[in-house]
């Protein structure tokens, strides 16, 4: 290692005297570092976001929509009959109704306040899930305080049915935002936009909103009321572990048998819903990953190309060095040091470029700022890349015979 750095002085002086190729490769390294650090940071950020649990027992929950078309259907009766039948099926843990599902990209939201005396800018954003007394069981939510809804608390009716006073269960994140002082939350009262009182009966560990672009994704609440309109209702069912895929068609069939005059729509697992919602994230990760692979490949080829060119034009010089006593290792070291200096030069520019690119993306695309720790890791990667890329041409150079020193050309 000491020899490596001792060699740096003369190599650097030589580089400054014939710098055209080296400057171009250094520039390429700088751009690579900037793109590499930001792209990996974005991918990691997306992966981290995708890994956040929704709060729902995704592996065992599935859902479907039911659209009756027989004139004069009674949705309340239909729901009660359907739910009773589904819950009675072997392998079913629970079933209920809800207006939308976490990460389904469709639903309801509003603001919630600590006081009926609402001032603009007060309160917290929240996703609203209108549901019944089986919501905890059918979604598999984990209660950390209080209780679930009681049957007598659930209100349902026409289009105004979801606007009245109700019991609510908060996500833990929302509970902490609403009551930053801590302490028990169950029993407290909050207020919706129109000043209607909502009574907190419980808190669940986690419950995500339907939209991944929602700034307050972890802020959501369940309300013990729902509107009796097919377009606003989803049947949500939770199976015993491992039985979801088998039960889905059975439930669909059962519902069809109970009332053939209706359409059973969109039977989907919660895993599918979440996966589809994150498809754009995965696509971005794949595209950025491809860009990273390509740019690393191009940079590697650039380093290999420059080193190969240098080996070819310096054949006699290499022969002379060998004649003067350089061992094969000395020749390899020379090229490694040269590559290290070029990548280091590129890295110095690249560090500034990385933060500049991040700053631009923060301001243009509203992305989170680059975590600085990615930059030293990127520099380290660039060094390793430079050393690996130059190794083959350096070894070729080391194999040149010392007798080249006495040959013309």
């Amino acid at each position: 290692m000491k020899k490596f750095f001792l060699e740096a002085g003369p190599v650097l002086r030589a580089l400054t005297r014939s710098r055209a190729g080296a400057v171009l490769i250094a520039l390429q390294c700088a751009i690579t570092l900037a793109i590499l650090t930001n792209a990996i940071f974005i991918i990691q950020d997306r992966v981290r976001q995708m890994a956040r649990p929704s709060g729902v027992d995704s592996e065992n929950v599935f859902s479907m929509r039911v659209k009756p078309y027989k004139p004069g259907f009674n949705l309340a009766n239909d729901i009660d009959r359907d739910m009773a039948a589904i819950r009675a099926m072997p392998g079913i843990v629970d079933a209920g109704v809800i207006n939308s599902l976490p990460l389904s990209e469709g639903g309801s939201s509003g603001r919630i306040y600590q006081s009926p005396d609402i001032k603009p800018g007060d309160g917290q954003f929240t996703a609203n899930y209108y549901t019944d007394d089986h919501s905890l069981g059918s979604l598999g939510l984990k209660l950390v305080e209080g209780r679930g809804f009681l049957p007598e608390e659930v209100k349902r009716g026409d289009r105004t049915a979801d606007r009245g006073e109700a019991s609510i269960i908060l996500s833990q994140t929302l509970a902490k935002k609403m009551f930053p002082g801590g302490g028990p939350v169950a029993g407290k009262t909050l207020y919706t936009d129109d000043g209607t009182a909502q009574h907190v009966v419980g808190v669940v560990e986690r419950l995500q909103a339907p939209w991944i672009s929602f700034g307050e994704l972890e802020q959501a609440m369940l309300l013990s009321q729902y509107r009796l309109e097919p377009a606003y209702l989803v049947y949500v069912i939770r199976s015993q572990p491992g039985q979801r895929n088998a039960l889905m068609p059975q439930v669909e069939k059962k519902l069809q048998e109970l009332d053939p005059d209706r359409i059973i729509r969109s039977p989907r697992t919660q895993s599918e819903i979440e996966s589809d919602t994150y498809a754009s994230y995965r696509a971005m990760a794949v595209i950025l990953g491809t860009v990273i692979v390509l740019i690393v490949a191009v940079t590697s080829l650039g380093i290999i190309g420059l080193a190969s060119f240098n080996v070819n034009v310096r054949r006699k010089q290499i022969g002379t060095r060998r004649a003067l006593g350089a061992q094969k290792g000395d020749i390899i070291r020379y090229f490694l040091v040269e590559s290290w200096l070029i990548t280091t030069g590129g890295a110095l520019v690249g560090v500034g470029l990385s933060f500049a690119l991040s700053w631009w993306m923060v301001n243009t695309f509203d992305l989170p700022p680059l975590d600085w720790r990615y930059v030293p890791v990127g520099v380290l990667f660039l060094w390793v890349l430079g050393q690996i890329a130059v190794l083959a041409p350096a070894r070729r150079a080391a194999e040149l015979p010392p007798a080249l020193a006495t040959r013309s050309a």
Partner: protein
């Protein structure tokens, strides 16, 4: 200092074999100044390459400074070149992107010397060839004669036991050539053995002994010339 016995070297391609040296034997004593002459393709450069450990040979044996170097590996040969041998090439072989100072420094770095010791030796060698003031210049900023003097300084800095010069004045005008030759004579007078390959009979005459190489075999040129003179006088 240099003992080559029955050395042979064959260059092989897919189509032909060329006997560059055959049954080549030569002794050079310590402190000698030997000139090796011969026509193009006679094997002079092959001899120099083998003698300077730049190339291996097929058969025979070779002792350099008392050490059998016939079967050394590449690393050991590199070490010996670095520690015991100095080279002066026809085309100077300076590294164009390095300053005069750094050029002289190259073999010393490979020897692993300390910075202070290297600097002392470089300054002394450049002083010796009269180029101390040009230490920061690039080779391209020097004349041919000056470049060859830098090459001599590079060879001298390592205090070699033997100096191999390959047509050292081949690329120089007569004035420069004379200066370089005088420098070599001074180096030899100071005790360094010199083996010089040259085409130039004038240059060869300045050496202690001339070796003539023909078709890869060595002839003692002095003896050859004496025999020639004798044949001519008998014919007369």
């Amino acid at each position: 200092m240099l003992q080559m016995t029955h050395i042979s070297k064959v260059f092989r391609t897919e189509l032909v074999q060329t006997h560059a040296l055959r049954d080549f034997s030569l002794n050079v004593a310590e402190g000698e100044f030997v000139a090796v002459t011969g026509p193009s393709g006679s094997g002079k450069t092959t001899f120099l390459n083998i003698a300077g450990l730049l190339e291996t040979f097929d058969t025979g044996s070779y002792r350099l400074d008392g050490q059998d170097v016939s079967h050394l590996d590449d690393a050991a040969r590199s070490r010996l070149r670095n520690e015991k041998i100095g080279f002066i090439f026809q085309g100077f072989n300076l590294l164009p992107d390095l300053s005069v100072f750094d050029n002289v420094d190259v073999p010393l770095r490979y020897r692993g010397m300390s910075g202070g010791e290297r600097r002392r030796r470089i300054d002394k060698a450049l002083e010796q060839v009269g180029l101390a003031s040009r230490a920061k210049h690039l080779p391209s900023q020097l004349s041919g004669g000056q470049q060859q003097r830098v090459a001599i300084a590079r060879a001298l800095a390592g205090t070699p036991r033997i100096l191999f010069a390959d047509e050292p004045t081949g690329n120089l005008d007569s004035l420069m050539a004379r200066q370089v030759l005088e420098m070599l004579e001074e180096i030899n007078a100071a005790g360094t053995t010199i083996v010089m390959v040259t085409h130039d009979p004038e240059l060869a005459r300045r050496a202690h002994r001339n070796i003539h190489v023909m078709d890869g075999q060595v002839t003692d040129f002095t003896a050859f010339a004496a025999a020639q003179t004798e044949r001519e006088s008998l014919a007369a």
